[in-house]
């Protein structure tokens, strides 16, 4: 496979660059040792996922106890002119070994000047304003093993230059060392009938994961309006996956060009949100849209409780081929924040297909116990999933997840 042949020297080169970043930072730090500020923190977590229905595919289990660790190390010197930031992540799943993984979420050196900043290394970047889908957010690969909603990301190697002007902020990215999306194994849930393996997914680009990639973003705000335009050229983060007639999988990471716009207008208690992308590749073109609002009833009756109501419409012109299965759907959600000492929060969301029967329901709750223990409870239900959609494959994967994280 093309994908695996280049992997050896690719990993070597990536390690060499990361080592150079650390060594360089270390030298610079020692030279300024009097003004160095360091901070070590992080969390360890226990997670238990329980799938309420028996799996559709042979080998699938129901109970998934797991542990995670996320160490963080931060160094700054010369009063914050130079920064080294590290966040690692590790997961051990006792049921599905394919879910065991280590990742460097972030490891970058940064220099900060008055109007600009430059970062080198593995970094996470977030773009966008909507809640149901994150269309314009393209820089990092999704950590598919950690998050169903796509909010957990893998670190991306980059050179990032940000320049502030009176007419907005310009962000320039030069990237390489693409990360493939990871998928659950035979024991796992939320998977295709045949588990997707790394080697099954190939690249359109002859340079595979080492292909140089570029992105540019301009963002600004005018009174109540925040706006961003972005353009990306490189390996698509989302593979194009299909199932052959014999049930076997095929898939490829295309080379894509993607233009995106994100816009939010903040008028009184209402946030108006809009995200849209146009993606071009030789294999597949697409357009997608997420538009909606968030209304907050703040401090209801002087109780301190906030109730937020969210509504969004999602469109994806790939139709049935969309991995997200959001070809024409409505998202309705509510957020209840108690604003108490324990930061108690409850989130409810449902995605309803406009043309089909499919309903996705989610409920998330979180609360702090004492000063450093946080509990999260999450439930996701797949209801009346249409057999025309990709997530039809997950129709038996209703689950409950309890997470306990201890922060240090």
């Amino acid at each position: 496979m093309n994908g695996t042949r280049s992997l050896g020297w690719f990993i070597t080169l990536q390690r060499a660059i990361m080592l150079a970043v650390i060594v360089f930072s270390n030298f610079q730090m020692r030279a300024q040792s009097k003004e160095v500020y360091t901070e070590f923190s992080g969390n360890v977590g226990f997670e238990y996922r329980y799938f309420m229905n028996e799996g559709l595919y042979s080998g699938q289990k129901d109970h998934f106890p797991a542990f995670s660790i996320q160490p963080e190390y931060y160094v700054e010197w010369q009063g914050g002119k130079y920064i080294l930031n590290f966040t690692g992540f590790g997961r051990v799943d006792f049921t599905d070994p394919e879910r065991n993984h280590l990742d460097i979420r972030e490891l970058y050196w940064q220099t900060v000047n008055n109007k600009w900043e430059l970062s080198v290394g593995l970094k996470k970047i977030y773009w966008g304003v909507t809640e149901a889908a994150h269309l314009v957010d393209i820089i990092n690969q999704t950590d598919n093993l950690e998050s169903f909603d796509g909010e957990q990301k893998l670190g991306q190697f980059m050179l990032h230059y940000s320049y502030m002007t009176n007419f907005g902020t310009f962000d320039l990215f030069a990237m390489s060392f693409f990360r493939k999306r990871q998928f659950p194994g035979v024991d796992g849930r939320l998977r295709t009938p045949d588990p997707i393996t790394d080697s099954q997914l190939d690249f359109e680009s002859g340079m595979n994961e080492t292909r140089p990639e570029g992105a540019i973003r301009w963002s600004h705000y005018f009174g109540p309006v925040d706006i961003g335009f972005s353009y990306f050229y490189g390996n698509g983060r989302e593979p194009i996956v299909g199932i052959n007639d014999d049930g076997s999988l095929f898939g490829v990471y295309p080379v894509i060009k993607q233009a995106g716009i994100d816009l939010q207008a903040t008028t009184g208690p209402i946030l108006w949100k809009f995200e849209s992308i146009i993606r071009r590749s030789d294999i597949q073109d697409m357009k997608a849209l997420d538009v909606g609002f968030e209304y907050t009833f703040g401090n209801i009756g002087g109780s301190g409780i906030d109730l937020g109501l969210l509504g969004e419409y999602l469109y994806d012109d790939r139709g049935d081929l969309a991995l997200s299965s959001l070809q024409s759907d409505v998202f309705i959600g509510s957020r209840l924040a108690f604003n108490d000492v324990q930061s108690t929060e409850i989130l409810f969301g449902t995605i309803l297909d406009v043309n089909r029967s499919t309903q996705l329901i989610s409920l998330e709750g979180s609360r702090r116990f004492g000063e450093s223990l946080k509990a999260n409870l999450e439930m996701r239900l797949f209801r009346k999933v249409s057999d025309e959609e990709f997530i039809y494959l997950f129709r038996a994967d209703d689950f409950l997840k309890l997470e306990l994280d201890w922060y240090f």
Partner: protein
């Protein structure tokens, strides 16, 4: 002779102006003088310790840091970073206060590296589960209230003006506030907050004052007591630094992301 008449005329005008000053005018004048008195700190940094106490006396402690950029034409800009509880460490807010229109406010969520513009409408809600509302801690621009002078009083052994100020914004959680301002240096000594039903809701007391750069009086401790719930919150301010050379560029969305790491 002409000169004498002129002098008398001037005295009369001056006198009548003093007599004609309504309690509203006098209150506004005091608020403006207080604001003027504190002008010129340019920028400041301070570390905060917030202690929340419920009615059973159980305590919970949080650490924050704050940077402020003084602006004269427009309202101040500020950056607040939460350092604890640890699960929200790195969460930060960037606020551009405005004198006339709603403030602009952005929130940074470090776990997903997201900057989110938030509504500044919800000013009456509790700040981090404390007895302070967002509006109690935001930059106190003169234009945000209308004023009325009430009386002179003696508080903490100091002579003070007592003025009433009514929030202009209908979204405020208060009908009015009574403010005790020290006559000699305009530092606030105490504020009483009256809720929308005009009942006494909270009292804020200032203590451990120190003067910086000769004229900027800052309390080392704020104590907010909620009379309706019996809960209280103490804010301790440490390591005040003024004229620290911060500029507009230090209050950008990039600075917000960096502050949150």
């Amino acid at each position: 002779m002409k000169k004498t008449i002129k002098t008398i005329a001037l005295l009369l005008i001056g006198g009548s102006m003093t007599w004609a000053q309504t309690p509203e005018q006098k209150g506004l004048k005091i608020a403006q003088d207080a604001s003027k008195y504190d002008e010129g700190f340019e920028s400041s940094e301070v570390n905060l310790t917030m202690t929340l106490k419920n009615k059973h006396g159980q305590e919970s402690v949080r650490f924050l840091s704050n940077q402020t950029l003084e602006l004269i034409e427009d309202g101040d800009k500020s950056l607040i970073v939460f350092n604890s509880p640890r699960d929200v460490k790195g969460t930060a807010t960037l606020t551009y206060t405005h004198k006339e229109v709603s403030d602009d406010q952005w929130l940074y969520l470090p776990s997903i590296k997201r900057v989110k513009r938030i509504s500044s409408d919800n000013k009456s809600g509790p700040f981090m589960g404390s007895e302070f509302a967002y509006e109690d801690l935001s930059s106190q621009e003169v234009e945000k209230y209308t004023y009325k002078y009430i009386k002179d009083d003696n508080i903490n052994g100091e002579n003070a003006y007592v003025i009433e100020r009514d929030p202009v914004d209908p979204k405020s959680g208060y009908t009015r506030q009574l403010v005790w301002l020290n006559k000699s240096n305009y530092r606030p000594e105490k504020i009483e907050f009256y809720d929308r039903k005009d009942e006494l809701l909270k009292t804020l007391s200032y203590a451990n004052y120190k003067v910086y750069l000769g004229k900027h009086w800052r309390a080392g401790e704020f104590l907010m007591v909620n009379h309706q719930t019996g809960k209280e919150t103490t804010l301790k301010f440490e390591d005040y630094r003024f004229k620290v050379g911060l500029a507009e560029a230090d209050f950008s969305q990039n600075s917000l992301i960096r502050a949150g790491r």
